[in-house]
């Protein structure tokens, strides 16, 4: 009887609202959402008021609040990986803050979402654009190469993201170089993401909670790289009981554990992956010859809940690689980082996020030749502290501001002989030091349900610091050791050169209908750090260089427009984005110049600029037995070398295709639920070959016929295409089940296409023959097993 009355009352209220003309904000719902199992807060949960279609989402601590013009209403609560739930509220009767516990979906249900973190909060609704999110759990259930789930391999299937080839390190976003990606692990930067020279990503997806890639217009608190931000958040340990995961595949074995150390206070997650790639390298043969390799990575994270409003976490990570190419050289590289994160709710509207981190990458080359044994070590270190304040006066308005302080230290190289009989002299290249200080503010306002604006501004000032001796060069001639006119010594921490500038970012969302929105964005970035390389992909002989007197900071501008459409209650989503990018001061190198261990490195480098543009289409089906995504990108990326002297110009000083320019990119992914825990998934990839330089004539010299390559990147490798397929079996039957297995059976390169990693030319007496090097030439089946207990 009472409920009938209530219903009638509600209907009456709804009837009256339109006549009142203006929706008065009289009521406010507040609450917190936590995970049913772990009792951990759940952030970014979407809360939609059914009657008015207004929505909000929870903050990092799981809290939400939103105003309502009516006291009775229904909210639907949804978040990726959790079951949807609805609540009926009556604020007249009960206005105490809500506490809602969300139940995790069983893993099988999770499979519905392949690559879509916006389920619930549709892409159509958010103001952000240029974003890709992937769920690391689901990578394990797609076709794998040698049984290894890999984050960057999953990203490359997304529009606007490419790599320079099979087994090549790094990734390229919208025609940007691999060193223009800021890769963060719980806020700390990773300077190298490659295991096994790039075959795998050095972060195991087992430890990662979520992966977000900003293809431009990264939030104002981030800076320092032009192309993208790859933000990886490590999982928190659960607060209920110890959980373990172990797995084996043909490439590696892994073990992870997480749980409470002190109930409700301290949780932790830790794990380790170690590889035994020699088994496979032996099979790969040609590319790696008599190579031997080994790698591992490990991660530990602890989170301490000081009280409901203060939380502290610490993350530690290490990865190590050893690679022997032949009998003469061994490469080692390792990354180590520690990141401290503190989150405090100062009031219900104001919170603080503080991050302090230390990250170091060390690369070692060991020369083993008799009489010439040496060890060459280079490294980069970053120390950073960054407080961010978040002020949310209401759910339509968020202001964030803060400061960023970064110290960079680079040791370009120290070489030492390693035995008494070695002829090698010790050599030490001066260390480099740089400081980046930034302040930033951003403001997001939802003007109406349909129009939102996000404005951000970051000001960064960079100083190249002593102690260091720098050189003056003769004017009007190319820089060389011989043209040095003077050397000046700067003492410790004295600014040798500074650069500074504003980095504005603007995004505007206009909802055209409920299911269609238009987004516009512009952003500018600055980059003070450059990776010096003369190979196409990231390699162990690359090293980092800071902007200095001669090497200007890189400046990038990007304009983007996007259209986002959802159909059938978000079952289908489609998006179209287009962008135009320009980059100033990209670092190029002179042909044949000595890069590694060059004390006069500026004399080996050239200034260049780049431009890139493209169209990205994506259609996804998010729910049902068949889910999937089709992504297509058309793009161009070009560079131009602005040499002061024609003798140093490339291709006559005109724009030419960048090494990473791959105009057509198509990726089709699909997954079918077969029942009884089985699913079938398949990926198809088609990418234009990357630019190459083919011979365009030959001549006689030194009694041999020499091939001439006079025009850089004027040719193109054949297109890359590949089909992968795989079956996954998950033995989990109900959400609470703790012990279950995940089996993955994968077939990589199903139709055995021999994709070209490169084409190179060799002379066979009288003819010049072209040889195609394929890294993967056949079908690669693999089986891997993960067990949770």
């Amino acid at each position: 009887m009472l409920s009938q009355l209530r219903t009638t009352y509600r209907i009456l209220i709804f009837l009256f609202i339109p006549f009142q003309g203006v929706a008065q904000v009289n009521f406010k719902a507040t609450g917190r959402i936590i995970d049913l199992d772990t009792k951990q807060p759940v952030k970014n949960v979407s809360i939609i008021l059914v009657q008015t279609k207004a929505g909000t989402s929870t903050n990092d601590s799981g809290y939400f609040n939103f105003p309502s013009p009516i006291p009775y209403f229904t909210i639907t609560i949804s978040s990726v990986g959790y079951l949807h739930t609805t609540r009926e509220l009556n604020l007249l009767e009960d206005s105490t803050p809500l506490k809602i516990e969300l139940k995790k979906k069983a893993n099988e249900q999770l499979d519905e979402v392949i690559v879509n973190a916006y389920k619930g909060t549709s892409k159509v609704k958010t103001v952000e654009m240029n974003i890709v999110k992937i769920n690391p759990e689901l990578i394990k259930r797609s076709p794998l190469l040698f049984g290894e789930a890999d984050i960057i391999k999953a990203l490359i299937l997304q529009p606007g993201v490419t790599s320079s080839g099979e087994g090549a390190g790094g990734f390229n976003v919208r025609g940007g170089n691999a060193d223009q990606n800021l890769v963060l692990l719980d806020g700390a930067p990773l300077f190298n993401t490659a295991h096994l020279l790039g075959f795998y990503t050095s972060v195991s997806p087992d430890a990662v909670q979520d992966v977000t890639l900003y293809k431009g217009g990264m939030p104002a608190e981030y800076g320092g790289r032009l192309s993208s931000l790859l933000n990886m958040k490590i999982k928190n340990g659960n607060n209920t009981s110890m959980q373990y995961t172990g797995g084996v595949g043909p490439m590696s074995g892994r073990f992870f554990m997480n749980g409470p150390l002190i109930k409700d206070k301290l949780t932790f997650i830790g794990g380790f992956r170690a590889a035994y790639p020699d088994l496979i390298l032996n099979q790969l043969g040609d590319k790696f010859g008599a190579s031997r390799a080994f790698f591992y990575d490990g991660i530990v994270k602890a989170e301490y809940t000081i009280n409901t409003k203060n939380k502290l976490s610490i993350t530690g990570y290490r990865s190590y690689d050893k690679f022997r190419f032949d009998t003469s050289t061994v490469y080692n590289w390792e990354s180590n980082l520690v990141s401290l994160n503190y989150v405090a709710d100062i009031s219900s509207k104001l919170s603080l996020k503080l991050n302090a981190n230390y990250s170091r990458f060390i690369s070692t080359i060991n020369g083993l030749d008799k009489f010439y044994q040496f060890k060459l070590v280079s490294s980069i270190t970053q120390k950073q502290i960054k407080p961010v304040f978040i002020y949310k006066p209401n759910d339509k308005h968020t202001v964030e501001w803060g400061a960023d302080y970064i110290l960079y230290g680079i040791s370009p190289g120290t070489r030492n002989p390693v035995s008494d009989s070695s002829n090698i002299n010790p050599l030490f290249i001066q260390k480099e030091k740089g400081r980046e200080m930034a302040v930033f503010i951003s403001d997001q306002v939802d003007f109406t349900d349909r129009i939102s604006l996000q404005v951000g501004l970051r000001y960064a000032r960079y100083d190249y610091l002593g102690p260091k001796t720098v050189y003056d060069y003769e004017k009007d001639v190319p820089m060389a050791k011989e043209t040095i006119t003077d050397s000046i010594h700067f003492s410790g921490n004295k600014s040798i050169k500074n650069y500074g500038g504003l980095e504005p970012r603007v995004s505007l969302k206009i909802g055209l209908t409920d299911e269609l929105s238009l987004k516009l964005s512009y952003n500018r970035g600055q980059q003070f750090l450059h990776l010096i390389s003369n190979t196409t992909s990231i390699s162990p002989v690359d090293f980092w260089k800071l902007s200095d007197r001669y090497i200007n900071r890189q400046i990038g501008d990007q304009y983007a427009v996007g259209l986002f459409k959802s159909f059938n209650k978000n079952q289908y989503e489609a998006s179209f984005e287009t962008y135009y990018k320009t980059t100033k001061n990209i670092v190029q190198y002179k042909d044949g110049a000595l890069l590694l261990l060059n004390p006069y490195i500026e004399s080996a480098l050239l200034n260049g600029r780049g431009r890139a543009y493209g169209l990205e289409f994506s259609v996804a089906k998010n729910t049902g037995n068949l889910t999937g995504q089709v992504n297509y990108t058309w793009s161009k990326s070009q560079v131009q070398v602005l040499a002061g002297f024609t003798s140093e110009s490339v291709n006559g000083g005109t724009y030419y295709p960048a090494d990473i320019d791959r105009p057509n990119n198509l990726a089709i992914m699909m997954k079918i639920k077969l029942g009884l825990g089985w699913s079938f998934s398949s990926n198809f990839i088609y990418t234009s070959g990357r630019p190459a330089t083919y011979p365009d004539g030959n001549y006689a010299f030194n009694g041999s016929v020499v091939t001439n390559y006079s025009r850089r990147n004027m040719d193109r490798l054949p297109a890359y295409h590949r089909l992968d397929a795989g079956f996954t079996y998950v033995s989990k039957r109900y959400p609470e089940q703790k012990r279950y297995s995940i089996w993955n059976i994968s077939f990589y390169n199903v139709y055995m296409h021999k994709n070209a990693y490169s084409i190179y030319f060799k002379r066979d007496d009288t003819r010049l023959l072209a040889y195609r090097l394929s890294v993967v030439g056949g079908i690669i089946p693999s089986l891997s097993w993960n067990y949770n207990f």
Binding site: Q283, R415, N423, T535, L594, P695, N702, Y760
Partner: protein, 363 residues
């Protein structure tokens, strides 16, 4: 661990050779011909040559089609004191100095000027001759490795002391007169056979260079400079040149070497034109290919006596390279020296080795 075994077994058993290198057909572009300049001034008392050719569809380095030879240029070499000497055309695109008194001097800079028929003028960036560095010792080791293409061989390496006070860039060139053997021709009745043996000239084409960047002031040890294949019992007469060159010349040869050893792998530098030091005098964007260098040379001439070759090794390693027909050695092999027939089989050394040091090579 049973599971791991099964997983690895399944994954690996089915993989055959996955990575592969295959010859493919590729359509390549053709650029307009570039002038190619190859020449040098050294401290040797010889006629200096400058070879002028053009780039194009050239198949053999020694048989260049006529239209790719530049025969009508005016070529002069000049030093930094203004002393010039003209070169005259000989054959196959080669121009030669005629003044025997024009010899490269340490400390002087040299450049070449090429004026083509159409008036285009190419000049090289002057190169200064660095002081020579002597070869201090020679090591020869017998390598007992052979296959159907090559017999056993002697590996020749040198040692030198790198001067500490300056940057040094080295290049080694090597040639040898090595014994060859045929079945010879009949010189009458009975078992009389002549012209079984001769010396064939082998020029090492491998680019062997070294920068003292990492070893400045130290000993250069075990630097391989060449090899002599053992085709018969005769001695080898070798000439080692240790060239002291400029940094620019070293960079040129380094690029040259990089290009000849390209493998398409992950550490390959991107292919590029080998930048030389010759360009159009009025348009610095118009480059000629090749290089004109000025360098000093330290020579070493040695006679190698291979005691290491036993009759058994000769049978299994060298015998296969003796042609199965009665033919004179100097007729059968190219680039040979003609010698009078034995009786005593004591062949005189080639000119230049009369008083050379001898090294006996044992197994």
């Amino acid at each position: 661990m049973q599971v791991l075994k099964i997983i690895i077994a399944i994954s690996i058993l089915t993989i055959t050779t996955q990575s592969c290198i295959k010859q493919v057909d590729v359509v390549t572009r053709n650029e307009k011909p570039f002038l190619v300049v190859e020449g040098s001034v050294t401290t040797d008392t010889v006629a200096y040559t400058v070879k002028l050719t053009y780039s194009g569809p050239i198949a053999y380095s020694d048989v260049i089609p006529d239209q790719y030879l530049e025969k009508d240029a005016i070529v002069t070499i000049a030093d930094d004191l203004g002393n010039t000497t003209p070169l005259v055309y000989t054959d196959q695109g080669v121009y030669e100095t005629t003044d025997p008194a024009y010899i490269g001097t340490v400390g002087r800079s040299y450049s070449v000027t090429v004026v083509l028929k159409d008036g285009r003028k190419y000049i090289s960036t002057p190169e200064k001759i660095k002081p020579p560095v002597p070869i201090s010792n020679i090591n020869v080791s017998f390598i007992n490795k052979f296959d159907m293409f090559y017999p056993t061989y002697l590996d020749i390496s040198i040692g030198a002391k790198d001067p500490a006070q300056e940057e040094n860039y080295y290049r080694w060139t090597f040639y040898s007169w090595s014994g060859r053997q045929t079945k010879g021709v009949s010189c009458g009745l009975g078992n009389c056979i002549i012209y079984e043996y001769c010396y064939q000239k082998f020029v090492d084409k491998e680019v062997r260079i070294l920068s003292d960047n990492s070893i400045n002031g130290n000993d250069i040890k075990n630097q391989t400079v060449g090899r002599c294949y053992i085709y018969t019992y005769l001695n080898d007469f070798i000439d080692i040149s240790q060239v002291a060159m400029t940094r620019e010349a070293y960079q040129f040869w380094k690029s040259y070497q990089d290009q000849q050893t390209r493998t398409g792998g992950i550490l390959d530098p991107l292919p590029a034109s080998i930048k030389g030091n010759v360009h159009n005098a009025s348009n610095s964007n118009d480059f000629a290919l090749g290089y004109f260098s000025a360098s000093s040379v330290a020579h070493k001439k040695v006679i190698l006596i291979p005691y290491s070759i036993t009759p058994y090794l000769f049978e299994i390693s060298a015998r296969q390279f003796i042609p199965d027909q009665f033919v004179a050695c100097f007729d059968y092999f190219p680039n040979t020296l003609l010698y009078p027939p034995p009786p005593d089989k004591q062949y005189p050394p080639p000119p230049g080795w009369q008083n050379a040091e001898e090294i006996k090579v044992y197994w």
